[in-house]
Each structure stands twice: as C-alpha cells, then as structure tokens.
C-alpha cells in the first residue's frame, strides 16, 4: 500500500533515470519491497515466514532444475538415476538432500505461516483475497510435493502414487475412469512416472505465478500486524527497507542454520527408509505412511471406517479434501470484527485446542491404522470440523473482546502522544 507518507523513488543517476522513463522496474521494486513500502512497526517474528516460504520456493526451483539434468523419468532406470546423482554427480548427494529436505522445510514454514494467519485472523477483510490465494498455493504445493515424492520410484513413491490416485476412484461413476486417466494405465507404471515428472516441473512455476498475485494482493491493504489495528499515521510504520529486509535477513540466517544442520547431519531423519527399496508392484510395505507434512490429512482420510449413506471410502476422501477447502470459507465463518487473537480470550482458548487437535491428528496419521489410533483420529477429525463450522462462528458472535489499543504506536509505546513522527512529517507550526 502506498500510504501518503511512503517515500518517493528518485533515480540516482542518468542511467537509472533513463531506465525509469522506459520501464520503471526499479521503481516497482522500490515500492514493493524497498523503502517505498511502509510496514507496521510492531511485526513480531511470526511475520518472518512469508519471506522464508518465498525463499524455499526459489530453493526448490533451483535445486529441482539442477536435479532434472541428471534424473531420468523412466520406471526402468529412475531409481538408479537417483543413486547416480547421489554417488557420481558432483555435489549430487548434497543437491538431492537439499531438495528433499527443502520440501519438508517448505511445509514447516507454510504451516507456521498459516497458523499465524489463524491466530491473528489475517484472513479478515480487507485481506480475504490474500488468504484465498494462499490456500490455492497450499493446495498446489501439496500436489507438487506428492508428485516429487513419486519420482525416485521407491516403495513409498509407488504406493503413494497408487493410494493418492486411488482417492479419485472414490468419486461415484466417473471415479474409476479418472484414476485410469491420471495413471495412464491400470496401476502406476512408466506412463504415470513420466507425466508426474512433467507436472512436477510445471507446477512450481504455477505456484510462483500465484505467489506474485498473493504478494500483489497483500500490497493493496498492506501488511496486517499483531494488534490487528490498521495503520493510522506515519508513526505506525517503518519503511520495509532496511528495517524488515534486515529482520527477514536475520530470520533467514536462523532458518538456514537449522536447515543446514538437517541437510548435513540428519538428511534422512524426515524421510522414510522404505523409499530406499525399489518400487515393487506386488508388495505393499507393512507400514505405509505419507511424508510427515501430510499426516494430519491422512489421519482424517482413514478416520472413516464405516458406511453411512455414502461409502466409507468416499466419506474419507470428501473429509480429507474439505478439511482444507474449509479454509476458503474462513473469512466468512469468523464474524468477529476484532482481528488479533491477543484481544479475544475465548477465541484464543479454542485456537490452542485446535493446535492440540491438529497435533493429535498429526500423531495418528503417522501411527499404524489400528486401535486406539483409529478411534482417536475419529474424535480428533470430528473436533476439527466442529471447530471451523460450529465453534468459530459461535465464539465470534458471543465473545466480548478486550479493549483494543487506539493505534499501533500506542500498543508499542503505551501512548500515542510519545509518537515519534517520521522524517516526512512537517514540524508543527
């Protein structure tokens, strides 16, 4: 957002002036992430994860394109070419571990980013479009990560492909033909692997496109902040550069330290050992689970074990997809005019319960499909839907929020009178 006090871009020399007249790209960057973009001064560390998610996307695209130079998408040789990357290609072991763990870190960052949005109600007006585009990005990221995991053609790859395409076979009448169309055969084989490679290459660029829309939509109202109170005057903001470029840079440094520890010392911690066994179409591993970042949704999928009007299989698939599609409705389910969870005591209690509920789903998704895990995930699934469809609308209409600060400046300094107005302010006469 261009607040009236946003700094004006002035070309420094003849060359930048010449460029600015022909194609004002430096001006665009200056106004988007430079000093020309005023941002609330009270953003906490939960506001670091958008930039980190963007970083992860770039990391995955760069390492992904590089890996595609050495990988062959053919069921006969795919597993072998991945081992070839690990053993023969210069730095191949590092690049492969970077890409594989990069996906885990991407999802870790996305989840924190999403939970930030849940708690601070970042989805509320006027930021609904940012939220909707964010959910689209999340769905695309899930599809991309799934297809990437198929490429090494290990046991988990193969059976993951079978199960996930099998989700579509639950659709009445057209389900079976759709699964066959997706796989290009009756079971995962060369045709499936080949097309998953093509789509795994394509989708990150689609994600990049939606990310551009996401950031564009963000720049219209400007960033939200931990108080949920909108920006009122210049003292509420600081320019993005250098204040938040520096803070995001620091956050990136912390992120990279943790990421490098995992890539270099624990590269297989987050993966599944069964994927080091080549795909065997005749034998499903005894304990098949998806990647950790799909656990909660996997638990929802298999919580449905009994027929009730519809088949259990279809219920599971519908529940799993709607557990995420539900997020699209969030701006309209939460009707409280107060944004930040800091000023909503009842909402905050239920938010914490939701986090616990999702942790339970996460745990059950990774556990075997046996009692008591099935029953626990049934209860947790029921609560998950209850939270969004019943509790949230009720809480948002009955709760009495705590008093909000007058402005961001007051929230930071205790009083608006102490406001240090910005350098663009005219001295009082």
């Amino acid at each position: 957002m261009s607040f009236p006090w946003a700094k004006e871009y002035t070309p420094a020399n003849g060359f930048t002036k010449w460029v600015d007249e022909k194609l004002p790209l430096p001006r665009f960057v200056y106004n988007a992430v430079g000093a020309g973009y005023p941002v609330p001064r009270n953003l906490n560390y939960m506001w670091n994860f958008g930039v980190l998610a963007g970083f992860c996307l770039v990391l995955q695209i760069v390492t992904g394109v590089v890996l595609a130079m050495h990988y062959a998408a053919n069921a006969q040789v795919a597993f072998g070419t991945v081992e070839h990357i690990m053993r023969d290609v210069n730095w191949g072991w590092m690049l492969r571990y970077m890409h594989a763990n990069g996906a885990s870190f991407f999802f870790l960052v996305l989840y924190l980013h999403i939970f930030r949005g849940f708690f601070y109600s970042s989805y509320k007006a006027p930021r609904e479009m940012i939220w909707l585009l964010g959910v689209v990005i999340f769905l695309l990221a899930m599809a991309t990560a799934f297809m990437g995991y198929v490429l090494p053609w290990g046991q988990m790859s193969f059976w993951g492909a079978k199960v996930i395409t099998g989700l579509f076979s639950a659709i009445p009448f057209v389900g079976e033909p759709i699964q066959i169309w997706l796989l290009g055969g009756f079971a995962p084989d060369n045709a499936a692997l080949n097309r998953f490679f093509s789509l795994h290459f394509l989708l990150p660029f689609v994600i990049l496109g939606v990310v551009i829309l996401h950031v564009w939509a963000l720049h219209i109202p400007g960033s939200s902040n931990p108080t949920g109170v909108e920006v009122k005057s210049e003292s509420d903001t600081v320019p993005f550069h250098p204040y938040y470029t520096a803070k995001d840079g620091f956050g990136l440094g912390v992120f990279l330290i943790i990421y490098c520890v995992v890539v270099f010392f624990l590269p297989n911690m987050l993966g599944h050992p069964d994927n080091y066994i080549e795909a065997n179409p005749l034998s499903t591993p005894a304990h098949i689970v998806p990647e950790w970042y799909f656990y909660p949704f996997y638990a929802i999928l298999r919580a449905f074990t009994f027929d009730f009007i519809l088949e259990a299989k279809l219920w599971g698939v519908l529940a799993m997809f709607s557990s995420i599609l539900l997020w699209f409705l969030l701006p309209w389910l939460d009707r409280s005019p107060v944004r930040s969870g800091h000023y909503r005591p009842l909402f905050r209690t239920f938010f914490i319960i939701l986090l616990v509920d999702m942790a339970v789903l996460f745990y059950c998704g990774g556990a075997p499909a046996e009692e008591p895990y099935v029953m626990i995930s049934q209860i947790a699934t029921a609560y998950y839907f209850l939270h969004f469809l019943v509790i949230l609308p009720i809480v948002s209409s009955i709760e009495k929020p705590k008093p909000l600060p007058y402005s961001i400046t007051e929230a930071v300094l205790g009083s608006d009178k102490k406001a240090v107005l910005g350098e663009n302010t005219q001295p009082a006469t």
Binding site: K162, L182, G185, F186, R195, P281, R302, K313, P368
Partner: protein
C-alpha cells in the same frame, strides 16, 4: 452490449443498425456474435480433447494379456502371488476349516454380500482366485505369504488403512467398500488356470 443495443434503438447511429433492429431491440448481428462465440467454443473443445485424451492409457498399455498360472503345487492353507496386467493376483487353496468359516458367515453380516460358492468355480470351492488389490485405495493386502498378518478374520489385512478381509476375501472391517475382485478366469486343466 446492452448499452450499445439500447443506444442503437433510441438513437440510430448508422443505416445498418436501424434496418437490422428487430423485435425487442435484438439485432441480426447479435446472432452473428453468438454464432462466432459458439464456433470458437467448439474449436476450443476440439483442441482440448486430444490434450486431455493423450493421458489415457496408450495402445501398448491397452494391449490386454492373459496369464496362465500353475496351481498344482499349492498346498491347502497356502497362497501364491502371480502377476496379471501388472497387478498382483492371489491364488489361495483354502483348508476345510477356512471353507467352513467362510460358509458360516451369514450374508446379512457382510458389507458386500456374496457366498464362497459364488466367488469360486464349481467343483473348486477350495481354490480362491482374487486380485491382490485392496478395493479401498489399491494397496496389496497382507496374508498371502507365510507369516503375514491375516487380520482378525483370517483372510487378508491391508496395512494402508486397515481393511480386513475374511477367508473368502470378503470385506469385513475397515474403509474398503467391496470384496476383493474375482477376475475372469477358467480352469484350462485340473492344475492350470487361465486368467483374463
């Protein structure tokens, strides 16, 4: 469009529009507009169809095959896994106790009611031939090989989402909707079956 039509009716701008305006302000060129958009739509669909259809099974995948399985070496209580159209096929010789168990189940207790006799060939009640593909999301159930978990109904157990099948490979518990599929097959001799 509405504005243009309205303006044309109220205040004709050129000769063509005056003469072509029919009842209710509909002009003959409105039809041309609809026809042009329809033609573009049909053309677009014709281009889209091959782009979608290319992902369907190709000719080499569709070239169906049959599989011959020698069942003479299977002892009662044993099962073998064969391959049929790139998917596992379970051939199991039931013990008298397993046949008895399968027949003792009332049809009303089944999600997908079928008797053991309906799932086997006449005179071969002990020879159970099914696809080894769980009808839930397509994993290979355990229970065919020695020492594998057969589930609580003594047949097959799918590790992916916990479906249990009984000794006639009928679904008894878990999310799978139907029994394990019995493919088309015939006994080409007493000891060989031809599947497909």
């Amino acid at each position: 469009m509405a504005d243009a039509t309205g303006a044309a009716a109220a205040e004709p701008k050129n000769i063509g529009e005056t003469s072509e305006t029919g009842e209710g302000g509909v002009r003959r060129r409105d039809f041309i507009n609809i026809a042009a958009v329809s033609a573009a739509g049909v053309g677009g669909a014709a281009v889209l169809y091959p782009l979608i259809s290319q992902m369907a099974p190709s000719a080499d995948v569709l070239a169906e095959s049959t599989t011959e399985v020698d069942v003479s070496a299977i002892e009662p209580g044993q099962a073998i896994k064969a391959v049929f159209r790139k998917q596992p096929l379970f051939v199991r010789r039931l013990t008298p106790k397993e046949i008895e168990e399968a027949n003792a189940v009332p049809l009303s207790a089944l999600r997908d009611p079928e008797t053991l006799a309906e799932r086997t060939k006449d005179g071969h009640l002990d020879m159970l031939v099914t696809m080894g593909v769980c009808t839930h999301l397509g994993c290979v159930p355990l229970g065919a090989a020695e020492g594998e978990n057969k589930g609580e109904f003594g047949g097959y157990f799918c590790p992916c989402h916990g479906s249990s099948y009984d000794t006639a490979a009928r679904i008894r518990k878990g999310p799978a909707p139907t029994n394990l599929v019995v493919p088309d097959y015939v006994f080409s001799s007493d000891t060989t079956i031809t599947v497909g």
